[in-house]
């Protein structure tokens, strides 16, 4: 009833809203998500020694979490506990806490657990996601053992306003309101909620039942402004978010009454002091993150019913190109990052400060061969000095057509604060996890007026030492630096686009194979040597097909995710699953307004599977999206 009322309310707004604004309508493409391989041939930059991929998210993308979208459109794998629940990233087999995640240059990994829950990041607020398992321009090594994912919110210089409403099965609905202006400012407001009360088979009790206590609710606000003062440019973005959700627990386990509230205030500032051949930028980023978890089961086990925390972060960074010549140019970064965590789980306020110096250069060896040396020197308040160098190279074998690339790098990740300080269990003597990583591959492209073909492949090899694993020590689970791992991953992409006057067709295919093999015995009787870690799919194959004619567009996404072992003996696993999502959308222009409508059916074959054992996902889901745009 409540959702029906809201649907009616939004429908009225959709009707009235266009009449209140005076503007011209511009063309926009519905659901414009694309995998774009970094165009190496046009962008001679530092990261070309690595396999870097990017997903661009359009302004009218549906109200999905970032985890759902990237799982479909990128080679990344998300350990997704089902609709509305925790989803952490595993990039090329690395653990979630080993991948650094940044938003507008600000590190957003939660300092207590060291990872990011992508299920609570709404795709409405992200313009693009760029990821690499080796190094990248901004942060080549530290806290990025498994690579970096850069999330960006762009301030587009357009005058536009839009209102979008989405409704789907299982009590899901949401709306998004955007306004942007040519005065370089924008405001976004997004709200969504879902009951996620889908039906599933419970094999523990042998019954069909509905998922209970699985609701979530999210509201977010984002505003950005680009200021120009005395030839200096300041680009600021503010992001406020609050998420409430119920945590139902795994199927067949004790029903949980747990709830979780996440929220944050994030402010990113980029000040461009100089442009041109020797750009100089200054960044000042700040955030406050809340994470509260309430569970009466914790109280019955003798702990506090409520686990609550506030994390504060301050990041100041300057980047300047100090050297620029025809054959060599070098950028230098100086950064200070401070983290404070106040939680009832620790005995006192915990702090970690990092001072970071990075230099990265491009050296032209010949017209077609480049070297990319990077030096990163850091000081951690709790771990002292650390050096993370890397060297990349690229060779343009066929000009504008074919390029080889490769890199070798050292990286490490300091233990999370929970691993260090969790009451009675954390070990303050833990060492950082370290890795030597080698990556090589190639990129190819060919295009004419109507057809474009891009293809790339890469192989990654990583040797990890001091990997942290929680194991029982004298009956208590404690973290230890005992894992020695060898990781391998192969990724290949093909992108085909064909467009003539009124229609276009696009096909993107990605395959990713990863394994993380235990190298050394950790104790007597350890049979896991030679086995792979848990929840790393042996293969992922994803295919995205898009066909458009005039104002109608069809999208078909297919993904197949392979076996995931669920114990270290590799004696049990989750079977592969495949999913097909179909969307059809159309748009119609009425003078000053453009109306877009879309219908989607996710998991059209009604495949029943779990990404994580005990956490079912919904079967087939149908939804609609209506959007009006004016400018």
């Amino acid at each position: 009833m409540k959702s029906l009322f809201l649907s009616g309310f939004v429908a009225i707004i959709l009707w009235v809203y266009p009449c209140t604004l005076q503007a011209q309508v511009k063309d926009s493409v519905y659901l414009p998500e694309l995998i774009i391989l970094e165009d190496a041939f046009e962008k001679v930059e530092f990261q070309l020694g690595a396999d870097i991929k990017k997903v661009k998210l359009g302004s009218s993308v549906s109200n999905q979490s970032l985890a759902d979208i990237l799982q479909t459109l990128s080679p990344l794998f998300f350990r997704n506990q089902g609709a509305g629940l925790v989803a952490t990233v595993s990039q090329n087999g690395f653990a979630p806490h080993q991948t650094k995640v940044e938003w507008n240059g600000m590190e957003i990994n939660h300092p207590m657990v060291g990872l990011v829950d992508f299920s609570i990041i709404s795709s409405n607020f992200i313009s693009e996601a760029e990821f690499s398992s080796t190094y990248s321009q901004a942060n080549p090594g530290s806290m990025a053992l498994g690579g970096v994912i850069h999330l960006k919110t762009n301030n587009e210089n357009t005058s536009r306003s839009s209102l979008q409403y989405e409704q789907a099965q299982f009590g899901k609905y949401g709306f998004q309101f955007d306004v942007s202006s040519k005065q370089n400012s924008f405001v976004k407001l997004a709200y969504s909620q879902a009951q996620n009360d889908f039906e599933y088979y419970n094999p523990v009790f042998g019954t069909r039942e509905k998922r209970k206590r699985n609701a979530n609710q999210s509201i977010g606000f984002q505003a950005g402004k680009r200021f120009s003062v005395a030839n200096k440019e300041l680009n600021s973005t503010l992001w406020l978010q609050h998420i409430f959700r119920e945590i139902p627990g795994a199927v067949g386990t004790t029903a949980s009454d747990a709830t979780q509230q996440d929220g944050w205030i994030r402010l990113s500032n980029e000040l461009v002091l100089e442009n041109g051949e020797k750009p100089w930028k200054f960044y000042a980023n700040f955030s406050v993150d809340k994470l509260d978890y309430r569970d009466t089961l914790l109280a019955s086990a003798g702990s506090d019913e409520l686990s609550k925390s506030l994390s504060y972060k301050s990041q100041i960074r300057t980047t300047k190109r100090l050297l620029f010549s025809r054959t060599v140019w070098s950028d230098f970064n100086l950064e200070r990052l401070d983290n404070w965590v106040n939680t009832n789980n620790y005995d006192e306020l915990k702090f970690r400060g990092i001072t970071r110096f990075i230099s990265h250069s491009t050296i032209t060896v010949t017209k077609s061969i480049f070297l990319y040396p990077i030096i990163q020197l850091e000081h951690f308040s709790d771990f002292g000095w650390a050096l993370s160098p890397s060297l990349g190279t690229s060779w343009e074998w066929k000009k504008n057509r074919f390029q080889w690339f490769g890199s070798i790098s050292r990286a490490y990740t300091a233990p999370s604060l929970n691993a260090l300080y969790w009451p009675t269990l954390g070990d303050p003597n833990l060492k950082p996890e370290e890795a030597i990583k080698l990556e090589f591959g190639y990129r190819f492209k060919w295009e004419n007026k109507t057809l474009s073909v891009k293809q790339s492949s890469s192989y990654l090899l990583a040797d990890i030492k001091n990997g942290i694993q929680w194991i029982p020590v004298q009956s208590q689970w404690r973290p230890q630096n005992i894992l020695a791992l060898k990781q391998q991953a192969f990724t290949a992409n093909v992108e085909l686009k064909y467009a003539v006057q009124s229609w276009y067709i696009s096909l993107v295919s990605t395959i990713n194979m990863a394994e993380s093999i235990i190298q050394k015995s950790r104790f007597e009787g350890d049979e896991s040597v030679g086995n792979t870690l848990m929840y790393i799919p042996d293969i992922q194959f994803k295919q995205w097909f898009q066909f458009g004619i005039r104002n109608v567009q069809l999208d078909v996404n297919y993904q197949r995710v392979g076996n995931r072992f669920i114990n270290l003996s590799n004696s049990d696993w989750l079977d592969p699953y495949q999913q097909v999502d179909v969307r059809i959308s159309g748009k119609k222009r009425f003078r000053r307004m453009q109306l877009e409508c879309g219908l989607y059916v996710n998991n059209i074959t009604d495949e029943r599977y779990s990404v994580i054992k005990g956490y079912p996902v919904p079967g087939r889901i149908t939804g609609i999206i209506i959007k009006t745009t004016l400018n």
């Binding site: 094999p203 523990v204 009790f205 386990t253 019955s300 194991i471 049979e527 293969i539 194959f541 197949r560």
Partner: protein
């Protein structure tokens, strides 16, 4: 380019074809090992050991019940007639299986807030089940699965045995305030009497003198573990002894009057006749569960290793000599040994 596309197509087809198949297992075994599985993931399973073949067979439950799962944290089992009852702690249920084929016969789902631990057959057609995080011991009709009544013992309950038409139920309480009593429940009228023992009583067993032996594992790090014997006629403590170390479990050999105590790094032998420690260490300790097979006169012990891979089963003679020559891999977190 063309080659790359062909390569991708071949890979795609190849990986679709290489789906793993799980082995199909026969379910006959003399010893069942109840594997808890990784907490929170509903991966409990049952392994079987056949002494004649000296072979372990894993995933017996799944083989017998392809579309079912045993659940989360299978804590213990109990055999009544031809039925195997498995208490699945974190799934708050009792799984009732055919004791030979392990085919599911019925599921007794308990109300939320009940965490079944150990079981014994009660009066008439009842199953009595101890309960974690709950002050009530449950009386369940074995056929209908209905809770007939609950026995209000006041604390978390753990071990349970029957002697002289009475139930002896250990009441360890829970961290950080452990308790120190055994509840004695008269099966004729369900009246309750409490007997004081050491801190944190867990395991319990009855010897051939009808003495009820209670292992009190004490508080972690406090060195206050102890062993108690209760006369089941008078319900008085007739013996108590301090135990050094950190005992976790014991197993009673009735015919030899020996109690095998898994105590930290040692497997000790305690003589229940002389009420004294017979041998300080006949083998390594540190197991997750031990059991004595009267039929074979052997001690079975399980080690969960790192709790994320398949654990190990060890078989020892009563002198501590290791009998199994091959490495015996059972399921993940083997936590209870059921001797048939």
């Amino acid at each position: 380019m063309k080659k790359s596309i062909i390569f991708l197509i071949v890979l795609s087809v190849a990986f679709n074809a290489c789906k793993k198949d799980r082995e199909s297992n026969s379910s006959y075994a003399d010893v069942y090992i109840i594997n808890q599985g990784i907490f929170g993931s509903s991966t409990a399973e049952i392994s079987g050991y056949n002494p004649d073949e000296e072979r372990v067979t894993n995933q017996l439950f799944r083989s017998a019940n392809p579309n079912a799962e045993l659940g989360d944290v299978a804590q213990s089992s109990y055999i009544i007639d031809d039925e195997l009852y498995v208490a699945v702690n974190n799934s708050h249920k009792i799984e009732v299986l055919d004791a030979v084929t392990l085919v599911r016969k019925r599921v007794i789902v308990l109300p939320e807030g009940n965490y079944p631990r150990y079981m014994v057959d009660g009066a008439e057609n009842e199953l009595v089940v101890t309960n974690l995080y709950n002050p009530n011991v449950l009386r369940i009709n074995r056929e209908t699965g209905e809770i007939v009544d609950s026995i209000k013992v006041g604390y978390d309950s753990e071990g349970i045995v029957k002697a002289n038409n009475q139930l002896y139920i250990t009441l360890p309480g829970s961290w950080p305030e452990y308790h120190n009593q055994v509840a004695v429940v008269d099966l004729s009228d369900y009246s309750i009497e409490y007997v004081n023992v050491g801190v944190n009583p867990t395991r319990v067993a009855v010897d051939n003198q009808q003495l009820v032996w209670v292992l009190c594992i004490g508080t972690w790090g406090a060195a206050n573990a102890s062993l108690y014997a209760i006369n089941s006629v008078t319900n008085e403590v007739v013996h108590s002894a301090s135990l050094s170390g950190s005992p976790a479990d014991f197993a009673l050999n009735v015919s030899a009057n020996e109690l095998y105590v898994d105590n930290g790094s040692k497997l000790q032998v305690y003589n229940v006749s002389s009420k004294s420690m017979k041998t300080d260490s006949i083998q390594r300790g540190g197991f997750y569960d031990i059991a004595y097979s009267a039929l074979e006169n052997k001690i079975y012990a399980v080690d969960p290793l790192d709790y994320t891979q398949n654990g190990l089963l060890f078989i020892y003679g009563t002198d501590g000599s290791k009998i199994n020559s091959d490495t015996l891999r059972v399921g993940v977190i083997p936590g209870y040994i059921q001797i048939q």
